[in-house]
């Protein structure tokens, strides 16, 4: 299973390197959203600074939906679902591989967005360990839940519009927890922020378990 996961993750990252969809489309989109928030709230810079954690994670969620659509769109093309089934790879391995590749892509995006909010919103990052902890667990949760719903939506014709409708309400707990974790971190109260990271970790763990179990029937029905 681990071998299959590594194989799928490497393939997905190679696909991204070749197509550059994340770099050329998702990242510019994310920076553009940050920029639009800055235009909308600029008259009161203080509000912009206060809203930074929420704006950051809303932007991450929107970008994650685009990344997921791409990640599962390629798996729906030209007989690939059949090829995956025939490959003999463990469905849980395929799922974990997809999640791993998504995590890498989203973390890279978050680094760019962090630079973006530092420049555009004048945000100063203080509690770095907590920020990293929250980012990793939140990203894992987004990828783990997103991969389940991405696979579910991939077989539907209306997948492009359906995925955000299915996924965004489900990720509300991640948005809230990650935003609170970031707020605490930016206000130097790093110790009390760890429960948010722990909550995000539990969310990720639940979905990683669920996805590993559910991916077999999802792959069968694709």
């Amino acid at each position: 299973m681990i071998r299959d996961a590594m194989l799928v993750a490497a393939k997905d990252l190679r696909l991204e390197r070749r197509s550059k969809i994340g770099l050329a489309q998702v990242m510019p989109f994310a920076v553009l959203v940050l920029l639009l928030f800055a235009f909308a709230l600029d008259p009161d810079r203080n509000i912009l600074r206060q809203a930074t954690p929420g704006l950051f994670w809303v932007t991450v969620l929107f970008s994650a939906v685009l990344t997921l659509q791409r990640s599962f769109g390629v798996e729906a093309e030209d007989g690939i679902p059949d090829a995956l089934r025939l490959s003999g790879m463990a469905p849980a391995g395929i799922y974990l591989g997809k999640v791993a590749a998504l995590v890498v892509q989203l973390l890279a995006l978050e680094v760019v967005l962090a630079i973006g909010v530092a420049v555009l919103y004048d945000t100063r990052f203080i509690g770095i360990p907590l920020l990293i902890g929250v980012s990793i667990t939140a990203t894992l949760g987004i990828a783990a839940a997103g991969a389940v719903y991405g696979a579910l939506a991939a077989r539907l014709r209306s997948r492009d519009t359906l995925l955000p409708l299915l996924l965004l309400p489900l990720l509300a707990p991640v948005l809230i927890s990650a935003t609170r974790g970031f707020e605490v971190s930016l206000e130097r109260e790093t110790v009390s922020g760890w429960p948010w990271a722990a909550l995000l970790g539990i969310f990720a763990l639940v979905y990683l378990t669920l996805g590993s179990v559910l991916f077999r029937p999802l792959l069968e029905d694709a």
């Binding site: 299959d4 194989l7 393939k11 190679r14 696909l15 070749r18 197509s19 390629v74 093309e77 030209d78 007989g79 690939i80 059949d82 090829a83 089934r85 025939l86 490959s87 003999g88 790879m89």
Partner: protein, 231 residues
């Protein structure tokens, strides 16, 4: 000896439509069997049933000793299927595709490269993305990704489609070689003049039901078969 493929009254539904409506089929070890029949007869569904991709709603379906009614996934790693789709990632290069599918099936990268060579895919094309290849070249790469799995049962749906004359000869040679080393080949084709030169026998499928072998290939001339499917 136990049949490699053994179907009895096999029914497979696509939605509510019985694409296979009680098919009977026996294919022995090392045989090359041509499936023939008009469009929509159920040839592709029968191949997909044998690959464990479509469930059997009723009847008996044993492939490579595995009971597909109980566990159709069990047979998948042991079969190789070439369908209308290429099973390739458009943005990846030829070698990246082959390496991925070879390793996914437990084969080595070297097996993949050897298969590309065997299919006559020129090495200058190996670093190109699949999206830059012609339909015929994609077909060869697709065949190579199946070949490197070393399947025990080959399930080929219109294997000659989109290939030039050399490519078709290579496919025919590969089918013969596979059978000579103990693999079994079941393929659907409308190109009966070519297919008839490779197959040991044929089975006709019509309306989701197979016609007994005795009434088909062995007792009917190739020209007659070609007339049957001509538009």
């Amino acid at each position: 000896m136990e049949s490699i493929v053994h179907l009895r009254a096999a029914v497979a539904l696509i939605g509510r439509f019985p694409a296979l409506a009680g098919a009977d089929l026996d294919v022995d070890h090392g045989e090359i069997v041509l499936l023939r029949g008009p469009n929509g007869a159920g040839k592709t569904t029968l191949l997909r049933v044998c690959a464990g991709l479509v469930s059997v709603s009723s009847g008996t379906a044993m492939v490579l000793g595995e009971d597909l009614v109980r566990n159709r996934a069990a047979v998948r790693r042991r079969v190789g299927m070439l369908g209308h789709a290429t099973f390739l990632y458009e943005d990846l290069t030829v070698t990246e595709n082959i390496d991925f599918w070879a390793r996914a099936a437990g084969a080595t990268v070297r097996d993949g490269r050897a298969a590309l060579d065997r299919l006559g895919v020129a090495s200058r094309l190996w670093s190109l993305p699949v999206s830059a290849l012609s339909a015929g070249q994609r077909r060869r790469v697709s065949f190579a990704s199946m070949l490197c799995r070393r399947p025990e049962l080959w399930l080929l749906d219109e294997p000659h489609a989109g290939l030039d004359s050399d490519g078709r000869d290579v496919i025919d040679d590969l089918m013969r070689e596979a059978a000579s080393v103990g693999a079994t080949v079941l393929f659907a084709s409308h190109e009966l003049d070519r297919a008839g030169g490779v197959a040991h026998r044929s089975v006709t499928i019509s309306g989701g039901v197979t016609v007994p072998d005795a009434e088909s290939f062995d007792s009917v001339g190739i020209a007659d078969l070609a007339d049957e499917v001509a538009p």
